[in-house]
Symmetry: C2
Subunit: 342 residues, 2 copies
Amino acid sequence: MVTLREVARAAGVSPATASRALTDAPHVSAANREQVARAAASLGYRPHPAARALTTGTTATVGLVVPDLANPFFAAVAKGVQARARETGREVLVADTDEDATLEQDVVARLGNRVDGLVLCSPRMPAETLGSVISEALAADGRVALVNREAPGAPSVSFDIADGVRQAVDHLRALGHETVAYAGGPRTSWSDAERRTALGAAAGGAVLDLGSFRPTHGGGVQAADLALAAGATAVLCFNDLVALGVLARLHARGVRAPDDVSVVGFDDVATAALVTPALTTVAVPLARAGREAVDLLGGNAGAAARHRRLPVELVVRASTAPAPPAFSPSPPARTDPEVVIR
Amino acid sequence: MVTLREVARAAGVSPATASRALTDAPHVSAANREQVARAAASLGYRPHPAARALTTGTTATVGLVVPDLANPFFAAVAKGVQARARETGREVLVADTDEDATLEQDVVARLGNRVDGLVLCSPRMPAETLGSVISEALAADGRVALVNREAPGAPSVSFDIADGVRQAVDHLRALGHETVAYAGGPRTSWSDAERRTALGAAAGGAVLDLGSFRPTHGGGVQAADLALAAGATAVLCFNDLVALGVLARLHARGVRAPDDVSVVGFDDVATAALVTPALTTVAVPLARAGREAVDLLGGNAGAAARHRRLPVELVVRASTAPAPPAFSPSPPARTDPEVVIR
DNA sequence: TTGTAAGCGTTATCAT
DNA sequence: ATGATAACGCTTACAA
């Protein structure tokens, strides 16, 4: 291993000067700067990250906590975090909590002292746990940034979910759908709560609440049968995975999409465009969110209180179409107040 | 920040003893061991990773290099790497090269001195670059492990691709398909070469070579038209993404799958089971490969020359069916020797 | 502008 | 079994 001392010796200067030269610090003559650079290059010098971290107290590393790397939603965020970190000369330490909310706190602790800042993309973490994580271990400003979630005390990058819901519902209403159902996500999900709030404000009448489902293909399968039973002609889903499940179940039951029932997803993950019928969905700038979260780290100004909300956009593909003239396998359940979001 | 000195003082011992006690080193009295543990716990002591790394020369970190985190194939591998690393008390530094093979070498260099070992899952990296990476920066044994690729000088975890190809072709032949086409992946891909070699040995006649395509949905769209033109009734694809593209294009052209044309994918990524028709595909233990690659790191024995080849399994779903009695939009091109794998 | 020297928090060596 | 003490490789006062 070639150390700074050796570079300094080769360049005929002291380690201090060599250090200054290589870190672009001031007070170094142009001649020396050049000498040192030349020596470092020819020797193949690589600064020792741990040594640097020990003295500076900074690791040039950002941590990323996600529930499931294999979930395309989080994978897209991770990609954004990765890209931005690399651009800014930092590495990414990634932790997959495997959907285990109890693990998240532990993971944060383990990562805490290895990184300069932490990007938290943990929708399931209880608000109180999140609060303690923010205040406890990462007391300093700019040490933690949230993605797809907002909470006091930490900057965050989230999405204009309300607008996305509005766009989706408007789209379906415009197509003549009167009975629109919502296949919701986990009750503990911050972003599901956002969706429900927005649904309550939807124009053109109430939206049927099908309930809460696991945010997976299986959840969608469940929801589809309920939607059919309720006589819905359109289903808005918590996310694309759920939408895919709805589509699959509809097909299995001989119900055509979009001819008989329209389906709208959320997120616009990569596969949404690849399935048949291609999914109409609310596109959410996942990678961009990851990038901006990284920029929120190391928050110098009062960034600690900063919440960025990124715009979303309905992408109309092939899973939505005008409502069928009269497709009602069973009477709509709109009269039951308990399942209606006001 | 609470340091080891403070713990030692609280426990009434020297830093050396405290260190030994906390690292489970020998030569510490049971009493002191307990005292130190208690003090550390009550003070909330966290060893400083950089300091430890500086003295021990070990970072408790593994690096992972992939071309694209958002690709479900690599995401699954990453999840496995992650899980195994965590179980063994290590963290994961991940680098996404964004499909840029020229970036890979640079990334390896950047990661090299921050990790104890590197898991390389870079199918596109030229063999020579890979060779220099293995020998140069990571000279020591057990510093690098390959996934989905084999090369001299480094241990690897790959898949029994030949067997997978055999299973797929046998399946199609058994269904009565005489004209089976292969939609290949990038020429530079190690695993595509494996597939082609296996195809050459396929029983029951030659397999039509459609050519090389990008390993994406778009590549599949291209391949579909060629398969149709060649009169194939079954298409074996480089991976599931390509298969999805084939399926989409078939559907767009009014060709039914599996009624008119059967399609087989490779990898069995998560979405393969979720689309309609559900994809028949060769399931490959991606996460397991990631886990085993981590175990190959820090290779003590002659593990440096070790190559593990994991078993694969054809998963028959809905995208394959018996060959149609006589579906030949155009005459099969089997007579053209240039496009036939012998 | 440059060099000397003092750490940063641990672990490892060497006495005791 | 325990405790000084010297590294580990780097940055940064502080001097010059």
